[in-house]
């Protein structure tokens, strides 16, 4: 009896998640399909819903992804290698560093946005540009990249390190030729998932000055917008047609997210080393 009740509870929990997600996807698809055409990808936003596209927003999101990848992965993986392979845990500054990273992962994204506005846009004087948005998203996902990379590095058994040392390898050779190659699949998976988190973020980008209406292709050091912001802007409009356009943009964003998650799963299954 209790077992059956518990089972029913588990199924219900599962169902809530599935039904909610299913309804959302179905609703968005139903509304968005009519607007999922070439215009969405090739045209800039316009006052006329039939002429309006999300080209600047899609390009903005692609540029952001590229820049975040370029910045977050080297810094994150570097930090993870330091903490796992080089840092002496008995030292107070290393423990402080670890504690700090754990806390950073829990900071709300809006706070990163405020930091970006105060430090990058105003303090450094970068202005309301795409690069500032990419840097803030990098900071936002850095803890995720670090934690995932540390786990991947920790999953490489010590027996591999010892075997390499016993052959006369230096620390650098052990890390660069054995540990990192063996951890690559895990690092890549974690980085992609972190990136997927970054492209859905809206709040910090709004704060560093992503514009809601951009009619031109973005540049790294110019004004920009991104998909979540374009969606936000369209849904805020009174005309019904813009809501449908927003649904189409949501489908694009979801497709990008699902593709990235699928890629992460595929990478993990295909390349993960089992010891």
């Amino acid at each position: 009896m209790r077992a059956a009740l518990f089972r029913a509870f588990l199924l219900l929990s599962l169902a809530i998640g599935f039904v909610a997600l299913g309804t959302l996807v179905a609703d968005v698809l139903w509304k968005g399909i009519p607007y999922l055409d070439g215009i969405l990808f090739t045209e800039a936003p316009s006052a006329d819903p039939d002429q309006a596209g999300a080209r600047p927003a899609i390009l903005g999101t692609v540029y952001l992804m590229g820049l975040v990848l370029l910045m977050a992965v080297p810094i994150g993986v570097g930090t993870a290698i330091y903490l796992e392979e080089y840092a002496d845990r008995e030292r107070w500054y290393n423990r402080l560093l670890e504690l700090n990273i754990q806390n950073l992962a829990a900071v709300p994204s809006i706070v990163y946005g405020i930091l970006g506005l105060a430090f990058l846009v105003r303090g450094v004087g970068l202005g309301r540009v795409l690069l500032a948005g990419a840097m803030i998203l990098t900071l936002l996902v850095l803890p995720i990249v670090i934690v995932a990379s540390r786990e991947a590095i920790r999953a490489v058994p010590d027996s591999i390190r010892h075997a390499a040392y016993a052959l006369g390898a230096t620390k650098w050779q052990v890390v660069s030729r054995q540990v990192i190659p063996a951890a690559t699949a895990g690092i890549a998976t974690g980085s992609i998932l972190a990136l997927a988190r970054a492209i859905g973020e809206t709040a910090p980008l709004l704060l560093v000055g992503a514009l809601t209406y951009v009619a031109f292709d973005p540049t790294v050091l110019g004004a920009f917008t991104a998909l979540p912001i374009q969606i936000f802007q369209w849904t805020a409009r009174p005309q019904e047609d813009f809501k449908l356009l927003a649904a189409a943009a949501i489908v694009v964003l979801l497709a990008i997210l699902l593709t990235m998650n699928a890629l992460a799963i595929w990478l993990r299954d295909r390349y993960q080393t089992r010891f």
């Binding site: 058994p157 027996s159 010892h162 075997a163 390499a164 052959l167 089992r274 010891f275």
Partner: protein, 286 residues
């Protein structure tokens, strides 16, 4: 082993020990590793204490003893692998051809180039068979005629015929026994002087174990081998010299490994001079 009369060793061990070839007299032996008054402690607590003995060139030297007697700790001093353990402290001296391995100016990487190691559990790299064997030569810059070097190492480890058609396949696809021979090939590929083996057959089946033991007979022509084992028959079959470690329990309850007896294998297993050795080899202890 039950109630064995205390003067009679396991017959198979005794037969194997008596079959040992006659060794050159002491004056003609070259000392490769001279261990004197070696004490190793982890975080202050000694794991082995005051160990002294000589390892001879082209001999197989076995280290036997019960669990916790510090056999692995001892063998890991010979290639400074204890350096990787936090809080490990080594006192005393290990002279390698007369040079102190623990002198301040000695680089542990240099030590490990000359003194190779095979571990208890086969630990091939998650790479191809070829890349496993080639790793050592590559990190040491011995990349001339690498293919020939890899083939030679695999032949020395009696693995070539089984893998020559699939050198590019992952080493993780090999059986446990093959993996361990691959680890031996990997160790000999850099042509070290000494090979340390830490219970190399304990994770293997009897057939694979026999192959590893046969291999040791062949390898000792070119190398000096130190093997840790808790299989006494194995020690009796392969070793020329045997060191027996035991656990010394202090009045406060600290357990420390000490060297009880070091002698020719035949003597250790048939006429040990220490009561504790006799108890151990007759199966009354450990």
């Amino acid at each position: 082993m039950g109630e064995t009369p205390d003067t009679i060793v396991d017959v198979r061990v005794e037969a194997a020990a008596k079959n040992r070839p006659v060794l050159p007299p002491r004056a003609l032996r070259d000392v490769v590793l001279g261990v004197s008054d070696l004490t190793v402690s982890y975080g202050g607590a000694p794991a082995i204490r005051g160990v002294s003995f000589d390892v001879y060139r082209n001999f197989v030297t076995a280290i036997i003893g019960p669990s916790g007697s510090g056999k692995s700790t001892l063998i890991r001093c010979f290639n400074r692998l204890n350096d990787l353990v936090r809080g490990a402290r080594v006192e005393g001296r290990v002279l390698y051809h007369g040079h102190d391995l623990y002198a301040p100016d000695v680089d542990p990487v240099e030590v490990r180039k000359r003194i190779g190691m095979v571990f208890q559990k086969p630990n091939p790299f998650p790479k191809s068979i070829y890349d496993n064997v080639a790793f050592g030569p590559r990190v040491l810059g011995m990349t001339d005629a690498l293919d020939e070097r890899v083939e030679r190492a695999l032949r020395q480890a009696a693995l070539w015929d089984e893998v020559n058609h699939r050198l590019r396949e992952s080493a993780l696809g090999l059986s446990g026994g093959q993996q361990q021979r691959l680890c031996i090939a990997r160790a000999v590929a850099t042509e070290p002087d000494v090979i340390l083996m830490d219970e190399p057959a304990s994770a293997l089946d009897p057939v694979a174990t026999t192959r590893i033991e046969d291999l040791m007979h062949d390898l000792k022509r070119d190398y000096s081998i130190v093997i840790v084992t808790h299989n006494m028959q194995q020690a009796a079959r392969v070793a020329d010299m045997t060191a027996f470690l035991s656990v010394d329990v202090s009045p406060e309850g600290h357990r420390t490994g000490i060297l009880v007896e070091y002698d020719e294998t035949a003597r250790i297993f048939t006429h040990p001079s220490d009561r504790r050795t006799q108890d151990y080899v007759t199966g009354r202890f450990g």
